[in-house]
Symmetry: C2
Amino acid sequence: MTNKDARTPASVQDEKSQEAGKSIGWHKAYVEGSRPDLRVPVRQVHLTNGKSVTLYDTSGPYTDPLVDTDVRRGLPPLRENWIIARGDTEEYAGRPVRPEDDGIKHTSPRGGLRNLDAVFPGRPRQPRRGRDGEAVTQLAYARRGEITPEMEYVAIRENVAPEVVREEIAAGRAVLPANVNHPEIEPMIIGKRFLVKVNANIGNSAVTSSIEEEVEKMTWATRWGADTVMDLSTGRNIHTTREWVLRNSPVPIGTVPLYQALEKVDGKAEELTWEIYKDTVIEQAEQGVDYMTVHAGVRLPYVPLTANRKTGIVSRGGSIMAAWCLAHHKESFLYENFEELCEILAAYDVTYSLGDGLRPGSIADANDEAQFAELRTLGELNRIARRFNVQTMIEGPGHVPMHKIKENIDLQQEICDEAPFYTLGPLTTDIAPAYDHITSGIGAAMIAWWGTAMLCYVTPKEHLGLPNRDDVKTGVITYKIAAHAADLAKGHPGAQEWDDALSDARFEFRWEDQFNLALDPDTAREFHDETLPAEPAKTAHFCSMCGPKFCSMKISQDIRREHGGSRAEIEEGMAQKSKEFAASGNRVYLPIAD
Amino acid sequence: MTNKDARTPASVQDEKSQEAGKSIGWHKAYVEGSRPDLRVPVRQVHLTNGKSVTLYDTSGPYTDPLVDTDVRRGLPPLRENWIIARGDTEEYAGRPVRPEDDGIKHTSPRGGLRNLDAVFPGRPRQPRRGRDGEAVTQLAYARRGEITPEMEYVAIRENVAPEVVREEIAAGRAVLPANVNHPEIEPMIIGKRFLVKVNANIGNSAVTSSIEEEVEKMTWATRWGADTVMDLSTGRNIHTTREWVLRNSPVPIGTVPLYQALEKVDGKAEELTWEIYKDTVIEQAEQGVDYMTVHAGVRLPYVPLTANRKTGIVSRGGSIMAAWCLAHHKESFLYENFEELCEILAAYDVTYSLGDGLRPGSIADANDEAQFAELRTLGELNRIARRFNVQTMIEGPGHVPMHKIKENIDLQQEICDEAPFYTLGPLTTDIAPAYDHITSGIGAAMIAWWGTAMLCYVTPKEHLGLPNRDDVKTGVITYKIAAHAADLAKGHPGAQEWDDALSDARFEFRWEDQFNLALDPDTAREFHDETLPAEPAKTAHFCSMCGPKFCSMKISQDIRREHGGSRAEIEEGMAQKSKEFAASGNRVYLPIAD
């Protein structure tokens, strides 16, 4: 999205910043809101024709040369004063951090009580929650008619009036995930009236990866445009990894608390209890997790509906809950304790991401009875969450062939009162492991066009292994393409200005501008230089694809030059100029040396 | 597409072949038709559970260990006897090959007359054409009610009755591009009732690349699934490159004769004449080009319609014709001589690919007046071509946002009497140079679902440079995904069997089968091995993504094992088995070592 005309970014940048920015083709600027501590970051691309294009920026302070970032200290607590100023929260001692929070056995020599200071070297802090269990959520404020600084912030980011933001949140059509214990985030909004958002998953697993790698993946993902990040760690150091990620993340962080709860019972699903789960949710809410996937829709009677499926239950959370339900032959403890869970989430402003534990894992299982039975339950839970003023979004599939995609979003919007839909792809075919960013990018673009608010990325490693740095980047870029294609198709105001700026640069052979406006300037430049590496090629009026003799854009330009610019001029002067053109022996392009 | 049950491939393979096949996970087999020289190649994937899956195969004799291929000799002329047996063609001396055909100046010391023997070392041959200018096209035969061996061949490939093939061709809803001078091809069909096809472009340019590279790119592209290949060479050795490509290609070859014609007038568009163009078409028809892009829809009055566009004319052929029209202030010589061109094409069975010279080159220009004015002319030309029994398909855009895609195919089908649509993407946004295989793969899947018969691939290098080997592969795989996703969405019979086979393998942890069934087995295997390289991991009931503790598929399997397989069994025994399960202290999975 460009907002070239709407607001002029405040000139808060000095020479140093502008210089640093130039080397990567853009510089970080800020748009100031109604108060000095409300400064919305944008990416300003300076074009060689003197114009500039302003793009949405998710990369956080890391791309601001004026901010000294240090992963051991964490990001500055941008929202802290806003939260305190509301006066509806209180600091408290909080739940002590226990060895098992990090997957360390009680008997381990490395065991023993620890606290957050030990977990993360940054500034000491106590957790915060709603005073007297009050719902301190953006939904509660919105319904009371309040426009919070967070709402104003996203209004500037989205180039809409703050009242639009408030209305969409109040109606439950959008969420603004912002835990009171995650003051570091730059607020963002998820809803069909706004830009389509992209989530990137990170997380170590039992098999591989480390804390530093996960923090690095998070900053890497947001640099390329991830709007939120889910930490799906399942191995050791799960608490500590999350703390580092949260303290360094400029975007909302999501988790699946069930994964950690299962670690605490040594992977024995049947030993899970509501108490262990609840304790884990509080642990994570105190750390600052902004949204949590809760598989409360996997109910006991739905499990048999998956029996005739080709690929059963493919959601980890879904399969854990199904195993628990069957082992005890009891209704899900998440479903049964949902109201209490709402009270907890409301006290921290944790947003629900109601998980689709029964999503289809293959083309054959798409849109089946199990999937839609669960969706109806999610609709019911959404209404309960609303009663408790908990912001809520709904997760969606999965593997779905193209002709069955629209039914997913249409039903979800109907059943869930237009709560934001948050889908994984969907993957439009099963036959291309190693390319599932593409099989799913197709489905993601379509379902976002039809109203999905956030897309969970899929990397090339899906079904095969853990994504590395390159896979994370490929996944994010692919999903930014899907999201932007959807913004265009929805006619989002301003979305096309970005395409137009790039196409203008292309037509006018401004190669550097093309690169700098690209979603991935580095790779665009690298690909160009592979065949025509010399510096003069950057100003050449052709490229290596067709060479100078066949460049259609050059011919088009020559036609305009020779025959006048506008249609009227061309039509009027066509016959006359045609004669001159022929007489001059002019060539539409220069033949290359033979 | 799988046709597991329909036909059993003849066991024409000996031990050697089976062995060779095993190492790459599949082996080449043939399905025999009504005569011994009608053997349709298929890719047979042998699964570890004893079953096999039969897939469409475009790779030609190169993947048959029983056939000795030699690029200097060319492929065996598979269709030669069929063509001769029809008795409606004659061999003749043909047009002598001239130095300028290869872009060599008359004055060059390397000049002088040459012949085809000098151009290609393979078997000497004379060109063939319809006797007394007769239309020797598959369309003519189909309309006469004849089912040719070519039609039977594609019927077997597509798993439909030969009569369906004949009907679709006769109605002009499908084309079977098969020049009588290209007997080497394995016949294939392009039409909305059949599997969606993919074209890969190759071609040297004035700037880079060599003959050998182009032949190599062609075999590489077909190995990964390209159904046709367009040779878009524009530099030196254009005639010789094409001869090598044709003699070695198992798939139909398309060209844009205008490119070579322009080389013959040293790149001066205004010096082009109908005579030079016609001579070039005959030259290429004698070589065996199966389909030709002809930009006869770029008419003089449409050129001014592009004046207010953001990116003018982006088709090379379109811009050349526009420049010619303006220079002479005359109607296009292609439009004016279209009937004579039809007569020539009919005599060789060259299929028209009526070019969209005015396609949009940016999101801003999509579906504009210029584009649709040309489309209406293409509809008119399609009807003329039909009068001459020339097979015809229609080319389509380009850059089109998602919400404007459907109008393209709907209008084309209406205006062009359901002639096959052959589109380039479309690209759904302009902002991602270096990822335009993805921006366009999204549009390609959608437009193919809605009825486009063939998709022209786009590689990551689009707009930036010439594709190399890796880019060609990425482009083809991306477009095979789009094509197959569309086959699924259209409910093409048998399409889903491929997905089902792969998903079964996934659910049953048959890793080798997953790899071998993948569109790209090599990369799928490589990605898996990156995190879990050991051989035992290939039989592990989990992968590195979640590790053994969180594998939802494993949990699903365990649920079925514990609680019975079918829904009835689960429902019936749920309570009872739940008790046993709890009592046994059984775990749904084994905890990993700590």
